[in-house]
């Protein structure tokens, strides 16, 4: 089964740390590059979609909503949407695909912009929800007041349980981090490109056990745009359309980080199981993988969720060299968020599209035709298969 929707263009701004560049300039640069990639003009864009919308729940997390971007770029749209509660940072792509498939729009500009690096100060850390506020509501309020403030704590306790049940060690996660850094050395846009050895990895300071510094992705300033087009409109674009083969958004547990019955699984497992019911493709058909790596531990979870290996088998799958440069199932070939910077999944999808278009340069995977993309960690998850025909 295939959606009547395709990715036709991608663009990323010159991302960096402490750029002190306004978010809208990052966004405009990414949008220009995406339009160039698709062979479209501003007037072709008739839809806009983002995650989560303008939000200040942690510093620099989402400085731009659809309103800011529509106004600044002078867009006239037939359809617009911001999705804070959807299936992960992928939600704007998924709803855009449904919008073009149902005729609400023909070319949707999907975006994600962050200024987490410039917004950090001595007293304001990125990704610490609610810090400095008087009172917290929702699921945060059962975690943050107990000093479980950072997603590194929540991912850390997932990793502790996984290590305990399946015998994974820090060296396995070190292979994720060092392998992605090896890819990043061939990606001029990655923010971390100096070689990373296992010794460097193991010697780095601990953040929240068993996760150390290089298990955590890098806050950056930047923006990424993905153009989602109706299948018939995609034929007019500059590059081969990347058809959206299937999507998954299922979630079978509560929306919080401590209540899922088996914390050696996460929302990804539900979203991927649902995805495979909508396609005849199998994991063996996939050439390149874009798996959310806000923390390194999410990569083995996504590998198992998609079924590239069985539950509890990711440590051996990784140790056998499957996911790094030259591996059968290369993961995050642009360096991922661990080395490329945290664009909340959009950067990973940008790289998957780059690979399917054969534009990966020194990191290109030969004849990549099908990509699996999974975004989110914990209860947050969305999955997608895209293919170049």
């Amino acid at each position: 089964m295939t959606l009547n929707a395709a990715i036709t263009g991608v663009g990323m701004s010159d991302i960096g740390r402490k750029t002190n560049r306004p978010a809208i300039l990052h966004l405009a640069e990414a949008a220009r590059r995406a339009l160039d990639s698709a062979g479209l003009t501003k007037d072709d864009i008739d839809g806009i979609s983002t995650y989560p919308g303008k939000a200040d729940n942690s510093p620099g997390m989402s400085p731009l909503g659809t309103g800011e971007v529509r106004n600044a770029l002078g867009l006239k749209t037939r359809w617009h949407s911001a999705v804070p509660d959807g299936p992960s940072q992928m939600a704007p792509i998924q709803v855009a695909a449904m919008a073009v498939a149902t005729g609400q729009a023909r070319h949707v500009l999907c975006f994600r912009a962050l200024t987490e690096s410039s917004s950090q100060t001595a007293t304001r850390r990125a990704s610490i929800p609610g810090a400095g506020r008087a009172r917290l509501g929702g699921w945060y309020s059962y975690l943050v007041p107990a000093n479980a403030m950072s997603a590194s704590n929540w991912a850390g306790w997932m990793a502790t349980r996984y290590f305990h049940e399946y015998g994974m060690t820090r060296e396995h996660l070190g292979l994720v981090a060092t392998g992605q850094r090896a890819f990043a050395q061939h990606n001029p846009a990655a923010v971390m490109r100096t070689p990373l050895t296992m010794e460097d990895y193991l010697g780095a300071r601990m953040i929240s056990s068993p996760l150390g510094l290089f298990d955590c992705d890098v806050p950056i300033d930047g923006a990424c745009v993905v153009i989602v087009s109706a299948a018939d409109a995609a034929k007019d674009c500059a590059q081969a359309p990347l058809t959206i083969e299937a999507m998954g958004a299922a979630l079978g547990s509560q929306e919080t980080w401590d209540q899922r019955a088996d914390l050696t699984t996460m929302g990804a497992h539900d979203a991927c199981a649902d995805l495979w019911t909508r396609t005849d493709l199998k994991p063996a058909d996939v050439d390149v993988l874009a798996l959310y790596d806000g923390f390194s531990i999410f990569v083995p979870y996504w590998l198992e969720a998609f079924g590239f290996c069985g539950h509890g088998e990711a440590k051996d799958f990784i140790a056998e060299g499957n996911i790094g440069p030259g591996g059968r199932f290369p993961v995050n070939t642009g360096g991922g968020q661990l080395s490329g910077g945290r664009l909340h999944g959009f950067g990973l999808l940008h790289e998957a599209c780059t690979q399917l278009w054969g534009q990966g340069g020194g990191r290109q995977v030969a004849d990549a035709r099908v990509a699996a993309c999974g975004m989110g960690g914990g209860f947050i998850a969305g999955s997608m298969l895209i293919r170049r025909d």
Binding site: R125, I128, Y142, G156, W157, H164, R205, M206, S209, W257
Partner: protein, 131 residues
């Protein structure tokens, strides 16, 4: 200064039970489902007959982590966090701030007991080794 939870109709009994030294968990009186975080409606059967009951205040560490990064300027580190399976409330876990223990000594399977820290109108459950 740690952020405080907003007190709501759902959660006030949970956050204030510590004033009497009790850990209060919501249960559905129709289907006996233990509900956490607390809700006004039972997520299992949609009954509105939800009542809080005191549970023993003991539990078992399902998983844990030691936080080493000071996320706020005055945050003392390292400290341990645990996810604790509660006795007397099947399926319910709480995220637990661990006190009175060497952070690195906290381990899966360890039994814990609750105590409370009062700040303003909130009584935070905090956990320490039971033995």
């Amino acid at each position: 200064m740690r952020p405080l939870p907003e007190l709501t109709p759902e959660n006030t009994v949970f956050w204030t039970g510590g004033a009497e030294g009790r850990l209060m968990i919501a249960f559905c009186t129709d289907c006996a489902h233990a509900i956490h975080p607390p809700q006004l409606v039972c997520p299992k059967c949609w009954s509105e007959a939800v009542e809080f009951k005191a549970v023993p205040g003991t539990g078992t560490v399902y998983t844990c982590t030691v936080n080493h990064q000071p996320w706020m300027p005055d945050m003392p580190v390292p400290f341990a966090l645990a996810v604790v399976d509660l006795d007397g409330a099947p399926g319910v876990r709480v995220t637990a701030e661990v006190v009175n223990a060497d952070p690195d000594s906290v381990a899966i399977g360890q039994t814990m007991k609750v105590g409370f820290l009062n700040i303003d109108d909130v009584w935070f459950p905090r956990w320490e080794p039971a033995q």
